[in-house]
Amino acid sequence: MLDVIRDVQSETGSVSEEAIVQIAAAMNVSQVDVEGVVTFYHFFSKSPVGKYSVYLNNSAVSFMKGCAAIAKAFEQEAGCAFGKTTADGNIGLFYTSCIGMNDQEPAAIINDVVFTNLTVEKVKEIVAGMKAGKSAKDLVKQFGDGQNQSELVKSMVNNNIHKKGLVLFAPFEAGSAVKKVATMTPDAVVEEMKVSNVRGRGGAGFPTGMKWDFTRKSEGPKRYIVCNADEGEPGTFKDRVILTEMPQMLFEGMAVGGYAIGADEGLLYLRAEYMYLKNYLENVLEKMRKNNQLGKDIAGKKGFNFDIKIQMGAGAYVCGEESALIESAEGKRGQPRNRPPFPAQVGFMGKPTSVNNVETFCCAARIVLEGGAWFAAMGTLQSKGTKLLSVSGDCKKPGIYEIEFGTTVKTLLEECGAMDAVAVQIGGPSGTCIGKKDFGRRICYDDLATGGSIIVMGPKTDILQVVHNFMEFFVEESCGWCVPCRAGNKILTERLEKIMHGKGSATDLTELESWCAIVKSMSRCGLGQTSPNPILTTIQNFRELYEAKIQKGKDYVSEFDFAAAVKESCAVANRKPLSEGH
């Protein structure tokens, strides 16, 4: 259903009530189901989004890099405000959550085409181009490095790979992993994964060998491999670069997974923001089919059948959560499922499914080639191998770093040119914000875990402003299923604002912390269970910032403004507002 709605959206610029009725009838589902899907995702809209729809990234790093000025420029040039379309229906301006371009912000997506490193000048040109009716693709003047230049991508996105390691960015010979795996038994593949001790790279760090073992042992005639390329955690963009430069390795890794668990179908769930890579990836798949690296009897091995389909997302961070991703891939609202049962038992289409991150599959391909022991020789006690980090924010060299697990934050900061960093956000908003005293700590599951997002904050960045941005992100991205997350994140954000406005007291700070505990412990999925982290970890590590804002010696301060509160109703009723206690 997602594909149908996506087509309607891009053909007609909206999914109108009428279209909803038609889709429901054609697909034999209720209108409410269709409407539920349309209203769930960022890139679907019931009202027209314009012939050109501009989605400007409003993530924290985008603001560090001047998003506010860019937004103003768009509004001035286009002649309409954000959230609106121009009167002639030509241009629509919208904000969207992190689009995976944090190393080249401010960035925006216009009709699936990515525009990076925006300046006021560039905005002027782009808007002029749109007014002149040029296609978004034609507005791209310069292409990025590597495969971004290839005929099927032609994007201005840059890879920004600053450090290559032995696992992800070492040379990879096409076909080698499937060839190797064909000589092994599925048992041996799982065993090799266990020996390597590789843990999931998507954030949660679950041991991949164990996950594959569970999935393989789940009863059923059919199983699935799903690759999580939703990459929605603000500040992560490493999967983007893998998809651009190492798709062959990724797809072979998926085939390895399929071979190990006994699945003949794989799904790449690609976030809508990476639509610009779709044709390119389809082409890689097609080539692999021709070369007997996908399809039937892969690498000449009888019965080694595996093929991969690409399923596009439609803009929703929570769809990165594996059960929500499965719901979304099945064409529904991307709301997490109750667990258990886990996807390994009941997953895509109700069948046992292993959902793994892009980077995890690449590791799997490498492990098959080099052996589990080789892999396990790198890293720390509980974190083996290397990790791709997406570094952005206040540093000289934002981009991709493949580091060995156990590298200290300090070393990383030296490498990326951020010696004046005051704070570092490890693992994106849902991770931890640390200060200088913790820069000696190591990046690994045993210490500072991360799915790859590293956001550096320098002395000029207002940390509380960043925290606020992260909280707004969670408010926006909560799927709304459970109250503690849906309402709780709003409450947290408002209480934070009260403190930021200088209207907070010590009570507000204590209550803020207890609300954090409620949201964390009462939410159903990982989103709500981690969403208070920006507040909690900054209260822990930067308490002085909060202390400086609250009114000392008072146990209660109200932000209520009587005159402002009655102003509008009095104007409507055409009466003179009376002062309080008249």
């Binding site: 109200s558 209520f560 509160a565 009655v566 109703s569 409507v572 009466r575 009376l578």
Partner: protein
């Protein structure tokens, strides 16, 4: 020792929370033994006649009168309790938050189904009427609140136990069923 003095009020609420107070059944007789009521719909005393120990408020603030009432309670009560969802979060009345005040008022006075289309459109604006606030506020955003009793309405037992706990100084047990969200 003299009996603790209790005052209660319903602001932007439905009186359901007060009904729940009455729902403590025959314990109401014990309650009368335990406490003295001052300003409250229970005994129909309209104005404070003395400082109270405990103020219990149902409903949030939707207009200027609510605000004044609430501040009056804060002034006269040593302990203030938010009783029920409306007082704690705004509750049902807060469903209008997010809809512009103008739209709400026009819906109520111009366009609602009980208004005859031929009638002149009148927006009440007498100075005696309370002024509508831009949104419905939970109590704790306007004055300091000491305790919150959740529920819509909070169960009679909870209200009873909370009062007894406050008066006797015993700890109140709040089991999971009382706090769970769905």
């Amino acid at each position: 020792m003299s009996k603790p003095v209790v005052a209660t009020a319903s602001l932007a609420g439905c009186f359901g929370c007060h009904m729940s107070v009455l729902d403590i059944d025959d314990r109401i007789l014990q309650l009368i033994d335990l406490v003295e009521f001052n300003k409250s719909p229970v005994d129909d005393i309209k104005t404070f006649t003395k400082t109270c120990d405990i103020g219990i408020i149902e409903g949030g603030c939707c207009n200027s009168e609510n605000v004044e009432n609430l501040k009056e309670f804060r002034k006269h009560c040593k302990i203030l309790i938010s009783l029920g969802e409306c007082a704690i979060m705004g509750g049902l009345p807060a469903m209008r938050n997010g809809i512009p005040v103008k739209e709400c008022m026009e819906e109520a006075y111009y366009n609602c189904p009980t208004i005859d289309k031929n009638d002149p459109k009148i927006m009440p604006n007498d100075d005696e009427l309370p002024m509508i606030l831009d949104r419905v506020y939970p109590l704790h955003e306007i004055v300091k609140i000491d305790y919150y009793l959740p529920g819509c309405p909070p169960r009679a037992d909870l209200i009873w136990e909370a009062l007894v706990a406050l008066i006797t100084g015993k700890e109140l047990s709040l089991p999971y069923e009382v706090l769970k969200f769905d």
